[in-house]
Symmetry: C2
Subunit: 227 residues, 2 copies
Amino acid sequence: MQGWEDIRAEVLRRIRARIWPPGGLIPGEEALAQEFGVARATVNRALRDLAEAGVITRRKRAGTRVAELPVRRARLDIPVIRLDVLARGQAYSFDLLADRVQPAPVPVTARLGLPEASPLRYLETLHMADGRPYVLETRWLNPAILPDPAPDFARVSANEWLVTHVSLVSGDIAFTAEPASAREAEVLGIPEATALLVAERTTQGTGGPVTWVRLAHAPGHRVQMTF
Amino acid sequence: MQGWEDIRAEVLRRIRARIWPPGGLIPGEEALAQEFGVARATVNRALRDLAEAGVITRRKRAGTRVAELPVRRARLDIPVIRLDVLARGQAYSFDLLADRVQPAPVPVTARLGLPEASPLRYLETLHMADGRPYVLETRWLNPAILPDPAPDFARVSANEWLVTHVSLVSGDIAFTAEPASAREAEVLGIPEATALLVAERTTQGTGGPVTWVRLAHAPGHRVQMTF
DNA sequence: AAGGCTAATATGTCTATACATAATACAAGT
DNA sequence: ACTTGTATTATGTATAGACATATTAGCCTT
C-alpha cells in the first residue's frame, strides 16, 4: 500500500475536511513525498489525477491550489449510432434522404470557420431502430477532407466513415430541446412541435474543419452519462 | 523532443494509417521503447493516455490492442448553477419553493437504491437569471448524509452546499427533451407543452445515496461540451 | 476431454535521480 | 516609475531498474 491512489485519497480527504481550504495553496510535491514517505513521482501522479478531475489547479512555480469551486466532470461516450441501436437490441438501418453539394448557410460556415457560402456536401440521413425512426441526422461536410474516390455514404453512413477514417482533433457538442419542425415531424412520424432532444456537433480535424451535424432524436430519447 | 506526446502522436498516426488495424495487437511497451529510443515509462505514459481517450484497450499479459471502434469522448463540466448564470453576465437569485420531508416516489428511491417510500427531503428551487426563470430544480435528498445542524437551504442552494461539502463518488446524468407540465409552465412562465431540456442526475456518495435531481431548463438553454 | 496448477509475460506501479520549463520575485539599468 | 534581465522555485517529464499483479498458455492430472 501507499500507492498513488492512497495519496490521492488522503489529499482529497484533507481538501474535503477543509484542512486545505478552497483557493488555498497546498504543500509542494517534495514536502508531501517526504511526509507520506514515497517518491515525488508518486505524489505527482496523484496530484496530476486530481488536477484532471478538476479538484486542484496546478501551475509551475506558483504551486498547487485547491480549486475554488470543485467542478464535477461527466464523460459522454459519443456513440456511433448503428452500435447505439444494436446495443438496445434493435435492428439498425438507415435511409440517405439527401446528398448534394450546395452553399452552406451562414451559421454552419461560421461555426466551422469557413468562408461564407462555401459549397459543402449536404447529407440528410434517417437512422432507424427496428424500422422505426430513431434519429434524423442533418450534416454539412467539408469536401476537402474526403479522399478522391469519395466513399459511398449510401452504403456506409457518414457518421461511421468519419469516425474511422478522419483523425479528429477537437470539437464541441451542444444539447438543446426544440419543437419538431414540419419536416422533422413528417420524417420522424410524430406530431409537429413535439419536444425533441437535439444534439449539434462541430468537429475540426488535422486538415481543417470537418463537419457540422445536427441530430434530432425521436421522442423519449435519453442521453446518458456517468461520472 | 521525443517526449511522451510525440510517442502518442506516432502511435496514433499508425493506428489511423491502419498500420495497426482495429482490433489488432500492437507491439509491447518494451519493444516500442526500444524502437523509439526512450524509456518504457515514457511509452507507458503515451499508451495510458491513448487508453484513457478510448483509442486502445490494455490488459495485463494480454497486451495492447487497437479499439475496434474508436469512441469519441466529450467532457461535461457540471456547473454550479449560480456560477453558470454569473458567467453569462447575468444576476443570480433563487427561490426555495418547497422544502419538506416526505416519502419519495418509487422511481426516485429505486434509482438511489433506497427502500421504497423512504422519507426524503424534498426541495423545489427556482433559479433565476436577471430575475427571470432559468432552471426549475426538483430535488430529493437523503437526510442521512446531512450534518446535525442541517444547512439552511434558503440561504445556500442545496446544489452548491452539496458540491462543496459531500464527497461524491459516482453518479449519472441523463438529458431528455420533455413538454413542460402545467406546473413547470406556470413556474417558468411559459406556455404548457413547450419543449424543455431536462437533466436528471443521481449521485452516490461514500456514505450512501445522496440525491436525485431533475433540472428543467428554460427554453433555449444549451448544454455545451467540448472534446 | 475436462479441470486445475504453474510458469511466462505484458502491463501497472514505485524509486531515485536528473534535467526541462514556466512563472515569479527581485535586482539592475534606463 | 518602468522596463528588462536574472535567479529562484514548483511542477513537468525523462531514465533505468525493480517489484507487483493480472492473465494466459500450456502442461499435468484425473
